[in-house]
Amino acid sequence: MKRFAQLLELLALTPSRTRKLAALTQYFREVPDPDRGFALAVLTGALSFRNVKPALLKETVLAEVDATLFAMSYDYVGDLGETIALIWPHHGAQEDLPSLTDLIELFNTTSKSELPKLIASLLTRAGINERWALVKLATGALRIGISARLAKTALAEMSGVEVQEIEEVWHGLKVPYLDLFAWLDGKAGRPDIDQSARFHPLMLSNPIDEEKDLAKLDPRDFSAEWKWDGIRVQLVLGGGTVSLFSRTGDDIATAFPDIVENVHGLAVLDGELLVGRDFEPGSFNDLQQRLNKKVASARHLKESPAFIRVYDMLFDGHEDVRVLGWTERRKRLEAWFAANPQTRLDLSEVLPFTDWDDLARLRRQGADEHGHEGVMIKLKTSPYVPGRPKGYWFKWKRDPNVVDAVLMYAQRGHGKRSSFYSDYTFGVWKGNEIVPIGKAYFGFTDEELKLLDKWIRANTLASFGPVREVRKELVFEVAFDSAQVSSRHKSGVALRFPRISRIRWDKPAAEAGTLEDMAVFILSS
């Protein structure tokens, strides 16, 4: 465990990507199986324990530490795992902890009633750095600024295998990845995984620069579609088996049985998962509620049925069609739909337009009348290339709406921003009072964050745990994509994707927006 704790600390504290990669590569090269495989699982977030959960750790600590002091400490540190590691009051002989493999085995086999005792004894035994790593392992929230992608890149560097090849087989592999390491070490062939479990990295778009890009692009070379406000998914239909992946390759099938149980055919499709009846997308809020549940509830299945609006095809039957141009793939897709009628899938409509001005008009009209996020523009000859290749797909988002709102409450941030007041609740006037309409925690620079933090500390009216109520004097220009009716906010309004676009140090709060102003943004859907 000591070696793994050292690796985690180095990854957390070394700003240099090169050095992180070098440390990972060295670790995977030197540490034997199965320890290195379990480490890989921890780093890529592939590991979870049935009974070892953040709540269990917290409970174990609260048996030893006053709850109020714990809450104050958590508020200050801003990271649950780190708070637990630092606050644990008992320090034993600092013996070595069991190996990573043995620890994971212990977590998996110890009965629920015995776990608090086990965790307490491990925390007491560990030195400070191992205690930190142990808690990170047990809570599953690493927060050390490394991505699964970086770990896979290190595997690629170690072995000379392309990282995309590793990603293709990744989702069919099992912890602790013995067959993967055997392949990377050159001792065995590429792991043979079930085709239906295979995730194919997605093709992503670049934002368009209206000034620079549009003039150079010939509208006749491009096709356009609405930009849907759902989540990007990949549906793998194996002719009897079905896998549903998020854009990062997480398997989300259990949350959407209404889709998985009602689709059929043999293909790999790319599209947007949305909720709503009769292929009429509802609000992102409805989708969010379903995403928050790992397993869908009966009520959600009934009230917010899900469907996929398909816009691309990676495999037609067993044939890899990614090398074909978009037009060709679209033809295949339409033919496939004709041959495989579906109740939970439909096709994303292709928008007719003559030139960029025409498309701009459509984009505005779509935003105003239907709340569309914008349009996607795709080069007709573009193959399906994983990653974010330049010049093929563009997103052209509609202009954001803005409102001037008054800062009401501030809360300390987490992770990198712990101890700064970086989460802001703001509101608009309703008669003589200010009512909250949303929360935002980005859109400002680190420099501005420091100034805001200072202003908040100097203008605090009261503090409630991690939250400070401030004088209603500072105005933010808040940008957002859309506004919806909400019963959760006192104002009755909720903003979609709010962010601070400007801090209006100059503007008096009396001139901020009103709830009446907000009404024009709310779609009549």
Partner: protein, 343 residues
């Protein structure tokens, strides 16, 4: 979590909430110029220029003169540790606080009541500061820089061991240690010397005067050199001490692929170290940790505790659970600075 409203009313017959000793019209560590000031130690948030008269230990006075100039106060009144000074019916005595060279706790006695203002203090041994002395009292005004149970400082020798291991493991890189120029820099140098490190230690310009002053006042620090006249390559494997702001500044580019280190009690929180882009955090503090704060409050036998400078809420809460009267003292100008200042 309980809501802690700020600015509660509170009173002591000797001292008010601005640390003003009413009977003799003197302020302890005032943040604005006053006719009569008692200064606990030389850090800028306690010692300011422009007072009429300054009462402090001779070391603190020497530090103030070095930092602000010989005429930074109208008049200096040096008072040695342990020597009572009677003014009317008030007696002032300074006791070592163990924080930095010359740092003092102020004991104020009047009509049989004893008040101790700790200033900043620590209880761990430190050969660059006079050792902390426990002073029993009725009212204790304590700092709480690390007043949360997450702060459990390790032994400094362990931290220096980690530093020396990193120096040995990375012979091609320089180690740049961010240290507050007064106190922390000299303590870290002293700890390195105690660990047997006798190579030259290189100093940023901001460190030179105060290190020289420490030497003058009898604290030996070994072979110190300005970090100026060497080629980049010659700094490989060397230790350089600089203010925290300089280690991430352009100034640091003169060193070969430096390992940025910072010596501070804040460094126990790894997320903090990450924010500050510190690659090797060294948890070396010149303040009490949570356990030492509790220990001190118990041992002074104070019945009333005022808490200032830091995370007042938690220490006030804990004092109340112990049946003590406790209040936060929100002195203007001392908001939590999140580790940029001395700690």
């Amino acid at each position: 979590m309980p809501t802690l409203r700020y600015h509660r009313a509170m009173a002591s017959p000797i001292l008010d909430r601005n640390l003003h000793i009413k009977a003799i019209d003197a302020y302890i560590d005032p943040s604005v110029p006053r006719e009569r000031a008692i200064v606990t130690h030389g850090h800028a948030d306690h010692a300011r220029a422009g007072h009429g008269a300054v009462l402090a230990t001779p070391d603190t006075i020497a530090i103030m003169k070095t930092r602000y100039g010989d005429d930074c106060a109208g008049r200096f009144e040096p008072l040695d540790f342990g020597v009572p000074l009677r003014i009317d019916d008030v007696t002032i005595t300074l006791h070592p606080a163990g924080h930095i060279l010359g740092s003092a706790q102020v004991l104020v006695e009047q009509a049989g009541q004893r008040v101790v203002v700790t200033g900043d203090y620590k209880r761990l041994a430190d050969r660059t500061a006079q050792a902390y002395e426990l002073v029993e009292c009725d009212l204790l005004v304590t700092e709480a820089t690390f007043g949360l149970p997450v702060f459990q400082h390790p032994q400094p020798s362990v931290e220096i061991g980690r530093l020396l291991k990193s120096v040995a493991d990375n012979p091609e890189r320089a180690h740049l240690i961010g240290c507050y120029a007064l106190g922390k820099a000299q303590r870290v140098i002293g700890l390195l010397r105690d660990a047997g490190y006798d190579a030259p230690i290189y100093l940023h310009g901001a460190m030179l005067r105060l290190c020289a002053l420490y030497e003058e006042l009898g604290v030996s620090l070994g072979d110190l050199r300005p970090a100026l006249d060497l080629s980049k390559a010659a700094f490989a494997g060397q230790i350089v001490i600089a203010p925290p702001s300089a280690i991430r500044d352009r100034w640091s580019r003169r060193f070969p692929d430096p390992v940025t280190c910072q010596a501070s009690g804040w460094m126990s929180v790894k997320q903090r170290a990450r924010q500050a882009l510190v690659e090797l955090p060294l948890v070396i503090s010149d303040h009490c940790d949570w356990g030492e704060l509790q220990q001190t409050i118990r041992e002074t036998q104070a019945q009333t505790v005022w808490v200032t400078h830091g995370r007042e809420d938690a220490l006030v809460y804990w004092c109340r659970t112990q049946g003590l009267q406790a209040e936060p003292l929100n002195i203007q100008g001392f908001e939590d600075d999140g580790g940029e200042g001395e700690a």
